[in-house]
Amino acid sequence: MRTFPEYISDLFGGIKSLLTGLSVTWKELWTKKVTQQYPENRSTLVISDRFRAELVMPHDENNEHACTACGICQMNCPNGTIQVIPKMVETEDGKKKKLLDRYVYDLGMCTFCNLCVLTCPSDAIKFTNQFENATFTRGKLVQQLNKEGSQLRAKKPAAPKTQIQTPPKEA
């Protein structure tokens, strides 16, 4: 059984702790709020450059990309998000050459693990921070990344960009 002084000190100690709590919320009432007003703030919204929202295949001004249709990204993808559909084209000197026909990417399946970009030997794909990917049908999430009529860039870019991206040798 508690003594009477304990009972009283419990009572007032408790009230004091409650008042301290109230003072914290009172202070909060007058501080600036942290909510971001999206989409009103679209023009000022900063999304970090490294944010992975969508896989894209950069094309230059001549509508050329760097994908050689080697299929390494497809092989490295853990859950079959990427489908590289090559076509065989005969060059002028009569040799057959494998070129990219369609590069199909299913955004709905993607886990954004970045393995495809890391392992791409020709730096043909990258992730962008364009995060507004909502669509009304799932079908729209399946995208073709190479543009209509695009071609393979003639020269490969020099030097691989990071250190671990030596491609797997077996196909």
Binding site: S17, T25, F51, I164, P168
Partner: protein, 542 residues
């Protein structure tokens, strides 16, 4: 160790000493219980802590391996292996009477491999339904979806459990009732705001008082261990972020370290620094969410949002570093995927100052609030022996006075170079767990402070082979995740994919102890205790 080995050889001549990096014994299943109970009560340093229990399909035989450790010195480890060649009706002996944590693990092993354990008091399958056809982690499992079709028909809950008990007349199979006939049972979960995910507690109530809890899990079971058996090591990495998503980076660190150790890859210093700092940031974000969720469970919605507000700053730092907020994908085998960004140090230092201030605010706002104290002090007491028996690690285990921090006992990355205190308390109640988390945030800030200005220049990722093949053998790595000890076990047969991958999750232990500590507490406290244990369901289900 020598002494123990000699003693074992004398006492158990049949125990086979297997050559392995860890002290390993293989023993016939009939002698297993005696062998383990000998180790459990070994006077010099009792092996009273079961770190993992892993089932394995070795082709011919179905085996189970146990990693036993000593609660006072977790760096002492013994692996015990046993197995049976009877694939039709495999039976092994349970060690649930020695280690409570074995209970759910044995049930999981039954679901995945079909091995039943004699003397386990409740031999239902864990994670899978009782009508599941086949045992998924066996190598001969038929994956045809037609065998186990997706059903949308609601099924009645069956509250009976089969078991096999050893009696003087031989083995006896029986079916027991989990609840009494007239128990007032409510389902807390799988859709409930306070189970922190799709957890299902069948709860028998006596008025407001919890009489008995039966844990159902597996609603978010994705079979990550099975999926991993067909994926290369870099591909498996992305699963670890989806286990305990709050400790995403730490889990991934564990798997990376395990592979690096096996493949003998040297990780550059810069990468070690980045990993350690990111791990501590992850731990803070995990603890902040735990704090928020616990306060929310106790009915303080405002505190929840305050915690989220602070966590947001950490997530922004993650976002800028590795392009992910929750699922970070930062660690890769050999180092980290992305180097830190230009303002990383500035942002982190600003956060340290900010967070210290906010910790004081939390203290004022909630830690001494008389109502909060009434809801946490002396509620859900977990004693130290129980914590060890249930293998409850992390802030919850340390709140029971058990020093079990992997960062102290088996240091990895840079944890042997930094100075920090392992926060332990002896009360073992909700409040001790609550305070432990706040104190660990403070310690994390301290660790980061020591590292942030000294990040060395150099590579942030080692060069690795294009295809990583691990040499034949078994590899195991512990890390200290936000909720406790997270372990990665890989058995490699020299392929580019693992033969068996097991993820030892801390949350499973945290949930397994709930029925014990919630017994005879009020239903409101059951929710509050759940918040203080801070389990994450995908981590349990895997």
């Amino acid at each position: 160790m020598e002494k123990l080995t000699n003693l074992i050889e004398k006492k158990f001549p049949n125990a086979l000493h297997v050559e392995s990096p860890k002290l390993t014994f293989s023993i016939d299943y009939k002698e297993l219980h005696a062998f383990i109970s000998f180790l459990h009560s070994y006077s010099e340093h009792p092996y009273d802590y079961l770190v993992y229990l892993i089932g394995n399909d070795e082709g011919e035989i179905l085996s189970v391996s146990y990693l036993l450790s000593c609660s006072t010195n977790p760096s002492l480890e013994i692996v015990v292996k046993t197995g049976t060649s009877d694939r039709e009706n495999p039976l092994l002996y349970s060690i649930t009477d020695l280690y409570e944590t074995a209970h759910l693990n044995e049930r999981e092993t039954y679901a995945m491999f079909g091995i039943r354990f004699i003397n386990n008091p409740d031999m239902r399958r864990f994670l899978l339904n009782d009508d599941w056809v086949g045992f998924p982690l066996r190598k001969d499992y038929n994956m045809d979806p037609a065998i186990n079709p997706v059903s949308i028909i609601s099924k009645d809950m069956v509250d009976t459990a089969p078991r096999i008990m050893e009696t003087p007349e031989g083995l006896k199979e029986e079916i027991i009732n989990i609840f009494e006939a007239d128990d007032y049972i409510i389902n807390i979960g799988p859709q409930h705001p306070s189970t922190h995910g799709v957890m299902h507690f069948r709860t028998a109530l006596d008025g407001e008082i919890v009489k008995k809890i039966d844990v159902h899990s597996g609603y978010i079971h994705r079979g990550i261990e099975k999926l991993s058996e067909n994926l290369t090591y870099p591909q498996i990495l992305h699963f670890t972020d989806r286990l305990d998503y709050l400790s995403a980076n730490i889990n991934r660190h564990g798997l990376c370290m395990c592979v690096e150790k096996a493949a003998d890859i040297e990780v550059p210093q810069r990468a070690q620094y980045i990993r350690t700092i990111m791990d501590e940031l992850t731990r803070m974000s995990s603890h902040l969410l735990a704090w928020s969720a616990q306060t929310n469970d106790l009915g303080a919605t405002t505190a929840f949002i305050y915690g989220m507000r602070e966590r947001e700053i950490i997530l922004d730092i993650f976002d800028k570093t590795c392009g992910g907020r929750l699922i970070m994908n930062q660690n890769v085998i050999g180092g980290v995927m992305f180097d830190i960004y230009a303002d990383f140090q500035k942002d982190v230092k600003a956060f340290i100052i900010y967070m210290r201030d906010k910790l004081k605010e939390y203290d004022r706002f909630f830690s001494h609030n008389v109502i909060a104290l009434g809801r946490m002090v002396k509620i859900g007491i977990l004693s130290k022996p129980d914590a060890i028996s249930y293998a409850v690690t992390g802030p919850a285990g340390r709140a029971s006075g058990w020093s079990c921090d992997v960062r102290k006992h088996q240091p990895y990355a840079l944890y042997d170079k930094v100075e920090f205190t392992e926060v332990t308390r002896s009360e073992g109640d909700s409040y001790a767990r609550y305070l432990n988390r706040l104190d660990e945030i403070e310690q994390s800030l301290h660790i980061i402070e020591q590292l942030i200005d000294n990040i060395p220049e150099g590579d942030y990722c080692a060069k690795t082979k294009a295809i990583i093949k691990l040499p034949v053998g078994e590899y195991y790595q512990n890390v200290e995740a936000g909720k406790g000890l997270f372990g990665v076990y890989i058995e490699s047969r020299g392929e580019k994919t693992p033969w068996r991958l097991k993820l030892r999750s801390p949350s499973l232990s945290l949930v397994s102890v709930m029925p014990l500590i919630c017994k005879n507490e009020k239903i409101s406290d059951f929710i509050g205790i759940g918040g203080s244990m801070d389990y994450v369901i995908p981590d349990i289900d895997r």
